[in-house]
Structures are given as structure tokens and as C-alpha cells.
Symmetry: C2
């Protein structure tokens, strides 16, 4: 298990070990206690978009040897991801689109 106090700021790497960015915070479904999204920040490295991107939690796996998360998300996936509004974390339509887009099963079922 990992502490929520340690997750914010944790580094995120690609499958090939490149540093992609870090986790800014997690969005937690209060009812189920399920983490729905990791909001990641990218510095523009490898052409990944700068700024914050909500990414389904299931796209991240923790690597104890790296001390960070690993994801197979690509630049193409990020730049082509469904756009989100200010209330994306309360917008089930957006969540359905983004989970479908990243090919992971919904957290809410």
C-alpha cells in the first residue's frame, strides 16, 4: 500500500524508463473509496503536453525499484484525449469517454 501523503509529487515514467512527469493529485470517488483519476503534470518532455491531464488510475502501475509509477500512455494518446471541462470529475459522460478512450474498464461499475 502507499500513503496518500506520498503519492502527490510521485514521478511517472514511461515503459522504457523515461521520466514523463509527476502526479499532482488523485481524484477519489467518495462513495466507493476508489481512485478514479490521477491528475498528472507534464513538463513538455518527449513532446508530452504541458499542464495537467486527468489519467485513469488503471493506466498507472507502481514500480518499487523506480520508486514511481509507470504508464504506457503515449504522446499521441495524450494529445488526442477527450477534452474536459472544469467539472470533469463530476461529469460521468466525460469519464465514460476518457475511460473508453484509454481502454480501461470503468471504476464506477
Amino acid at each position: 500500500m502507499v500513503s496518500s501523503a506520498d503519492v502527490n509529487g510521485t514521478e511517472v515514467y514511461s515503459r522504457t524508463g523515461d521520466h514523463l512527469g509527476e502526479i499532482d493529485h488523485l481524484m477519489i470517488d467518495k462513495l466507493s473509496g476508489q481512485i478514479a483519476y490521477a491528475v498528472m503534470t507534464f513538463g513538455g518532455f518527449l513532446g508530452l503536453g504541458e499542464g495537467s491531464h486527468p489519467v485513469p488510475w488503471k493506466k498507472l502501475s507502481y514500480d518499487t525499484s523506480l520508486g514511481g509509477f509507470v504508464t504506457d500512455i503515449t504522446q499521441e494518446q495524450l494529445t488526442g484525449a477527450p477534452t474536459w471541462g472544469d467539472n470533469w470529475y463530476e461529469d460521468r459522460d466525460y469519464q465514460r469517454r476518457s475511460y473508453d478512450y484509454y481502454g480501461v474498464s470503468p471504476y464506477w461499475l
Copy 2:
């Protein structure tokens, strides 16, 4: 949904609105993305034990009007809870005992 950045430090109240303590951090099951425990700190109010106590996440519900979590955990429950060692968050035996003790279904099934 709620941000992990906002959860740490969130106040916790009893069913009758008494302030019990606050959430220090959450323990997250990395594989499933499920929050397993909220580690709460109590100040000794109402006779609740001081210090940190791991509490199954399912014992907390968020109350938007209070801006905090509500729990029905009692002083008797806290003081009689199964003891935990330093590695409680990796100790499935302890987790089984505490989830059973608080009468909530396991997060790992």
C-alpha cells in the same frame, strides 16, 4: 469526487456532529486503486484515544454540509480495536481482523 490534496487534514465528526479528529492520510492499495484505510488522529476529545488510528475507509462518509467526514465509530470501538504493528498496512492478517472488527466487507475481495 474529492482530491487527495484536500483529504489530508479533513475533519471527522461523529453522527451527532461532535468533532472527533481529522484524517492524517489515506492508505491506498496500489494494485486495485482502492482506499483501504484512513489514518485518523484524535486529540483525546470525548475520551477518544490520542495518536493515530487506522480506520477502514468504509467507516467514513463524506458530508458536504459539514465539509468533513462522518463516522459512527465509538470510543469503545477504538479502544478495543485490534492492535497493529509497524507493518500493519502490509499485514493481511491484521487487515482481516480490523475489517472484521469494524463489521465492514474486505476491500481486497
